[in-house]
Symmetry: C2
Subunit: 113 residues, 2 copies
């Protein structure tokens, strides 16, 4: 099962920021694969969504980049800036809060552990 795409809307930036917080340094393609792996294919980030998001994060000063070459193939690594780290905490906390509210609103019972 893959989540209907509308659910991803609004969470992509937070997902990317959190991955960068956990992994120090990642490149675009790696991020797509990591999300796919960690969610058992339920969330698949497309390149058309990811790259513009990464560029936006850079424009906002939340990440810095360094380019490396593996053979002749480019890799653009992204790393959180100090303000990016702060932003990540804010975004993750907000999303966690939002999910609690949604659980309450939708009267969703906690899953059996």
């Amino acid at each position: 099962m893959i989540y209907s795409s509308e659910l991803i809307k609004g969470t992509l930036k937070t997902i990317v920021l959190k991955l960068l917080a956990d992994n120090k340094k990642m490149y675009g393609y790696e991020i797509t694969q990591k999300v796919k792996e960690l969610t058992f294919d339920k969330i698949q980030i497309t390149e058309g969504a990811l790259y513009p998001t990464l560029h936006a994060l850079e424009d906002e000063g939340l990440v810095t980049t360094e380019t490396e070459y593996i053979g002749k193939r480019m890799r653009k690594y992204y790393t959180l800036s100090p303000s990016g780290k702060t932003k990540t905490m804010e975004k993750v906390n907000e999303l966690a809060d939002f999910m609690d509210t949604m659980k309450f609103l939708l009267d969703i019972k906690p899953k059996q552990a």
Copy 2:
């Protein structure tokens, strides 16, 4: 605190469907007030978002409507159709699943390098 609007994206339809499932019959303005009340003002649905959504639900056959007049003022009540009830369960379950996945994704501890 009001959630940044991007978080609401993609969940509005599910919220509306669930409220209708719980309350049998509601009108637009009532829905905005109920959500505001249940979320302690954290989620505020704007009319510009709500009415098009309700019309879409109607076009999809997920709700039926009946118009009443309170004095001279119109109220358009919305009620789930049978397919609307099925859809509500699907949407709520999918969102619950998605939120579990997100919680896992955002709780990942840093990997040892």
